[in-house]
């Protein structure tokens, strides 16, 4: 029987299925971090359980770490205690930790792929909704809650009902200056913040095939922003070239065997999806969000929708959102001044993102009134940026290069945007208060964000390159 890529991986990982209930899904890799794991370890202790397969668990500290002076003890007491608890838990339960100061430390969804821990065909979970990022490698990867973190630690399994399947095809070629971030913001604006709930999404089509692994990770990363359980892309030569020779990638005969298997990971020609969409890549513009959920995005040349164009029963929410953002319905988004620029997060903090930004800003200066934070996704990204001289280009432009962590994506540490200020951000969420109480977030690609840093406003990158 013809199978989708998702079904091929799913079927290989089912331990058993409960009658009238979910399936027991075996998990190959489990990533943990300091924020959503402490209660899970407490639960294990209460039950007197061990971690079943510590070698399949990888830990890092990212959500709650400072992004300056990481060599010093964390100043904020609760944050410090949480990070210390991760160190203690990993030591007690025999889990490898890439904590602060370790050359592999970084955002969990950046380090997994760059270390070769994430490999095609795997099932991957983490107590973080952006675990869908790893789907870029042809994996079933999704975020879980802390109770499920405890399940995965204790039994290397979680209970999951098989989701419905959707394929989104991005056909043809992108315009110059349009990045993978624009693709996914465009898709979410079409489907809404809940349009893919209950589905796992496979991304396909020429424009997806042409993306680098970094670009594919950005797409899969934001699957959750339209409600999808996860997103995935069939592995191909681009995937295999990225994975080869990474720190934990199989080597020698193991590599050959793995590669042969990975070549079977694709959706069969006559496999059927519950829903299928086709989008013309050439129609996608650089995108910016204007509201308080990631579905409220628009092409850069468009105006914020007029109130009259919004269905009656959604107008109250629409108005509340624009009021929070301090924007008017029907106004153009181009020309909107910004106060802060944040380039970072598990969506866009990889070396390719920093290279794109550096290429564009080389020899330019930031606008005087704008503060620009660049937060690399990992110690390895930071090191590569230094090796390539990217750090110098960014600093010459007046940008601040900080140290790896989740930072202003969720404002858990001190990297917060002040109330009322506008931040153009390469992260994934523009929720109220996400980047700090009453902060106003405009989501965009790294190039659109870099352009805003230089011009001080939201502008159309296509006019500048």
């Amino acid at each position: 029987m013809a199978k989708t890529l998702f079904e091929k991986i799913w079927d290989r990982h089912i331990v058993k299925t409960i009658e009238d209930g979910p399936s027991v899904l075996y998990i190959d890799r489990h990533f943990i971090h300091e924020v959503t794991s402490p209660q899970a370890f407490n639960g294990l202790r209460k039950r007197g359980m061990k971690v079943l397969r510590p070698a399949q668990v990888v830990a890092t500290a990212d959500h709650n770490v400072p992004t300056i002076q990481q060599h010093l003890p964390i100043r904020e007491e609760l944050s410090r205690k949480q990070v210390e608890m991760l160190v203690q838990n990993c030591s007690d339960f025999g889990i490898e930790l890439y904590g602060l100061g370790h050359p592999y430390q970084g955002i969990v969804h950046v380090i997994g792929p760059e270390l070769g821990v994430t490999l095609p065909g795997m099932t991957i979970v983490c107590g973080d909704s952006h675990t869908s990022t790893h789907g870029a490698f042809g994996t079933i990867a999704f975020g879980i809650g802390t109770s499920e973190v405890e399940m995965a630690l204790a039994t290397q399994c979680v209970l999951q009902s098989k989701p419905k399947l959707m394929r989104i095809n991005i056909d043809g070629q992108l315009q110059k200056g349009v990045l993978s971030k624009d693709i996914i913001l465009h898709v979410i604006s079409l489907l809404s913040a809940s349009g893919a709930t209950g589905y796992f999404v496979e991304y396909a089509g020429e424009a997806i095939r042409n993306l680098s692994m970094e670009g594919r990770m950005t797409i899969c990363n934001m699957s959750i922003e339209m409600g999808a359980r996860g997103g995935l892309i069939a592995p191909d030569e681009t995937t295999f070239a990225y994975v080869k020779n990474r720190t934990f990638t199989p080597k020698g005969t193991d590599w050959e065997n793995a590669l042969a298997d990975w070549h079977t990971l694709y959706t069969d020609a006559d496999a059927v999806f519950d829903k299928e969409l086709h989008i013309d890549a050439a129609e996608i513009e650089p995108m910016v969000t204007y509201g308080t959920n990631p579905g409220m995005g628009t092409g850069i040349s468009q105006h914020i929708p007029s109130l009259a164009s919004i269905p009656l029963n959604e107008q109250a929410n629409f108005n509340k959102s624009l009021q929070y953002m301090g924007l008017r319905d029907g106004q153009p988004i181009k020309g909107q001044p910004v106060d802060f620029v944040f380039i970072g997060s598990c969506t866009n903090s990889r070396i390719e993102d920093l290279r794109l930004v550096a290429d564009f800003v080389k020899g330019k200066k930031k606008a005087d009134h704008v503060e620009v934070w660049i937060v690399p996704g990992s110690k390895q990204v930071e090191q590569a940026a230094m090796d390539e001289g990217i750090d110098k280009i960014l600093m010459d432009a007046g940008f601040m290069l900080r140290q790896p962590g989740c930072s202003a994506c969720l404002g858990m540490n001190e990297d917060k945007i002040p109330a009322g200020k506008y931040c153009i951000s390469t992260s994934n969420r523009n929720f109220e208060g996400r980047q700090g109480p009453n902060a106003r977030t405009l989501l965009a690609s790294p190039l659109t964000a870099a352009l805003a840093a230089i011009t001080g406003k939201v502008n159309d990158i296509r006019e500048y390159i």
């Binding site: 209930g21 973080d128 809650g145 858990m412 208060g433």
Partner: protein, 194 residues
């Protein structure tokens, strides 16, 4: 849990994300307790100050109280933080009613014996209007029968729940106990897989 009969608190907003339910800055705790006081923190208080509650926010309005939270569609979207379910539970709610739930939140709620009741958009809007008109309206949620009923009028709707999860909710079983009970199967699966 089998049946809840209570008044309800309506929050009409749609797409309520888990950052609103419990903002990230409160996720530094390492236990499951005490999140209720920061539930909807930035919608409940002006300038993050408990001395200045926002009077127009339903949780601050004494006319609405009860064990049932009623909220607009796509409730619990965004971050996977289970702290959102803990905060709602810790505040005292046992049921959340909406016309649509985000997947991860639904799982997190069920794992904490917080019952997500998904109703039609029409029923939800009618429920909002009813609670606006009479905040003392009693709502009956019957898990055994899988019905939600507006008591004074008898209007009701059926809701879906996975039969396995229903059994867990009614009997207080949790998934971890189940998974631990099948560890021999899991180990056999690992042998076969490798």
């Amino acid at each position: 849990m089998k049946q809840i009969r209570s008044t309800a608190v309506p929050i009409r907003d749609e797409n309520i994300d888990t950052d609103q339910i419990i903002p990230a800055r409160f996720l530094k705790a390492t236990s499951r307790d005490g999140f209720g006081k920061n539930l909807f923190r930035d919608w409940r208080y002006e300038n993050d100050n408990e001395a200045t509650p926002r009077k127009d926010f339903p949780l601050n309005n004494p006319k609405w109280k009860g064990d049932i939270l009623v909220a607009g569609k796509n409730f619990g979207c965004g971050s996977s933080r289970e702290h959102a379910a803990w905060a709602i539970r810790d505040h005292g709610f046992e049921v959340v009613v909406s016309s649509f739930f985000a997947d991860i939140f639904r799982n997190n709620a069920l794992n904490n014996f917080l019952l997500p009741v998904q109703v039609s958009e029409d029923f939800l809007q009618h429920l909002f209007d009813t609670l606006d008109a009479d905040p003392a309206t009693q709502i009956d949620v019957d898990l055994e029968q899988q019905t939600i009923r507006i008591l004074p009028t008898g209007e009701q709707e059926h809701f879906d729940i996975n039969p396995y999860k229903k059994t867990c909710m009614i009997n207080g079983y949790d998934d971890i106990d189940f998974l631990i009970s099948i560890l021999p199967d899991i180990e056999a699966f690992e042998k076969k897989k490798s």
